[in-house]
């Protein structure tokens, strides 16, 4: 396996493409990132260390990844909106030695050394590579409590990226998907590995400003979840973009979004990809239809860099050289089965020689590309003194793919209907204090009872 780091790939492609990373108020040419340092030369101190990449901005995270791949032993990539609890849990699990930040306070309570990531400044050429391969660690949400940390190498992450055909006109990328999540990370790596310009946004940037920046940068290729694309199609400014390539991932791409994109961007190739943090990029669907052809299911030889797909117990399993290595700090969790397949927990169903996605096993809910475990939400709802039990379910939604409905059983006390609204607000307030926004139920229904199985567990059969 070739031993290279992100810098090596960037150096190889930089002469031809000469791209840049562009964010709000700042744009860094790859050339300056290659010759300079954004970490005030701290790379010697970070050599061989486990480093948490925790800047608030995507841009600083991106520059830190380029600088430290091949130097740090481990890059632990902190997604946006991480709570202090999740941060401290990740620091412990991934045995983090140092934290990279960009000015906003990092509330991790760790006492670890912090390194500021800023603008590229000239640096000496001395660059001592880490002897092993840098591990890229992406957190993914666990059922309750701490996130699971999924370890990849750059080779795994780059596995699905093919060299663009020669003489392809200039490519510029933009992503709606945050580069610190798996789907966005793929776009970051696609852009960097070809030295293509990448336009990223920062929190609170109005969408129209982002679109204008994309227009100014001549963005040709763009990626996001179906929910991101629906959001774009609800904008009067969607026509600012002239795209040659549209990529959807992270959620089920339904017919409505595929057809609407086709109508709005008649010149673009529209591709939806199936990928997950654990399974890596499994495949891309290019025929602009929902689901994927049945012929994709095969047990190809992974040694030839082919992806094997299998259906077992109704869910899609993936075996390839792009799947993650393992979970960090969790010897009890297995990523692969005996044959090397990763269970994606995505249920699929065959109809007319095509497989369609039917949602997630074990009730994991996908809200606009973000995972929610019902049990986590239920445990918070149950904190309200009047709640005796609750059940959280996905409900299909045309804007975000799914939203959360909570069925709540109250204690026996009767109350007038008018009090329902007050109680619902109280429950939402409890959730608001403890859960990320997308995990808060959109709808609460009070019910008289919930089915409980013989095992004592809630019956979670999907309605």
């Amino acid at each position: 396996m070739p031993d290279f780091c992100l810098r090596d790939i960037l150096i190889a492609s930089e002469a031809e493409a000469a791209g840049s990373l562009q964010s709000t108020g700042a744009a860094f040419a790859y050339r300056d990132l290659l010759t300079g340092t954004c970490l005030a030369g701290a790379r010697k101190e970070l050599h061989g260390k486990s480093v948490l990449i925790a800047p608030k901005s995507q841009l600083a995270s991106a520059t830190a990844l380029i600088e430290l791949d091949g130097i740090a032993s481990r890059l632990v990539i902190c997604p946006p909106d991480f709570t202090p609890f999740l941060l401290s849990s990740v620091i412990k699990q991934a045995e983090v030695d140092a934290v990279v930040y960009d000015g906003g306070s990092v509330d991790d309570g760790s006492g670890l050394p912090h390194y500021f990531c800023g603008q590229p400044a000239p640096a000496d050429a001395d660059r001592q590579s880490f002897a092993g391969k840098t591990e890229w660690v992406l957190p993914t949400s666990g059922t309750t409590g701490p996130p699971k940390l999924v370890a990849h190498t750059l080779t795994h992450l780059l596995g699905a990226i093919q060299k663009p055909p020669a003489r392809e006109p200039r490519v510029s990328w933009a992503t709606f998907y945050d580069i610190r999540r798996f789907g966005g990370m793929q776009i970051f790596l696609r852009a960097v590995s070809g030295s293509h310009t990448l336009v990223i946004s920062e929190p609170d940037e109005p969408q129209v400003d982002f679109l204008r920046r994309c227009q100014a940068a001549g963005v040709t290729h763009m990626s996001g979840t179906p929910s991101h694309w629906r959001r774009l199609l609800m904008s009067p400014h969607a026509n600012l973009l002239s795209l040659r390539y549209i990529r959807l991932s992270g959620e089920i791409a339904d017919r409505a979004i595929l057809e609407s994109l086709r109508a709005t961007y008649p010149e673009a190739r529209i591709v939806h990809a199936f990928a997950s943090t654990e399974a890596g990029v499994a495949f891309e669907v290019t025929d602009e239809q929902e689901g994927f052809p049945a012929s994709f299911i095969n047990e190809n030889d992974q040694e030839n860099d082919q992806v094997g797909l299998r259906v077992e117990d109704g869910s899609l399993r993936v075996r390839s050289r792009r799947t993650a290595l393992r979970y960090i700090g969790r010897g009890d969790l297995k990523l692969h089965d005996e044959d090397g397949f990763v269970d994606t927990d995505d249920l699929i169903e065959l109809q007319n020689n095509r497989y369609y996605f039917k949602g997630r096993r074990a009730g994991v809910i996908n809200i606009g590309g973000l995972k929610v475990h019902p049990e986590e939400v239920e445990s918070v709802i149950n904190l309200h003194p009047r709640v005796s039990m609750s059940l959280v379910r996905a409900r299909r939604n045309p804007i975000m793919g799914n939203i959360i409905t909570a069925y709540v059983v109250l204690d026996g006390k009767l109350q007038p209907i008018q009090a329902d609204a007050v109680l619902k607000s109280e429950i939402l307030a409890v959730c608001g204090e403890r859960l990320e926004r997308h995990k808060i139920p959109a709808v609460i229904d009070f019910v008289a009872s919930l089915d409980v199985l013989g095992s004592g567990k809630l019956a979670r059969n999907h309605a």
Binding site: S260, I367, G368, R396, I399, I403, S425, A442
Partner: protein, 80 residues
């Protein structure tokens, strides 16, 4: 004001309050994403309107048009 319009507007206000979002003035030309609400807010509004009005025009229709303005949004409910 039609009953549907009243229901839609009151749902916008309720969700904005719950989500701590500041709403701008709700007139027909208002671009939905300039109202102060985001995708998650609209997702919640559509779900609650389905419970209240018994319809979801964005899922039911064969030919889905994503609404751009508040006027588009209300019309899709009125014509569903």
């Amino acid at each position: 004001m039609s009953e549907i319009r009243t229901t839609v507007i009151s749902q916008f206000k309720r969700v904005a309050e719950e989500q701590n979002k500041k709403l701008t003035r709700l007139d027909d030309d208002l671009v939905l994403f300039e109202s102060g609400l985001d995708s998650l807010c609209f997702a919640i509004i559509v779900a609650r309107l389905e419970d209240e009005l018994g319809k979801d025009p964005f899922t039911a229709s064969e030919d889905v048009q994503f609404p751009v303005t508040l006027g588009d949004f209300i019309r899709q409910y009125e014509h569903a």
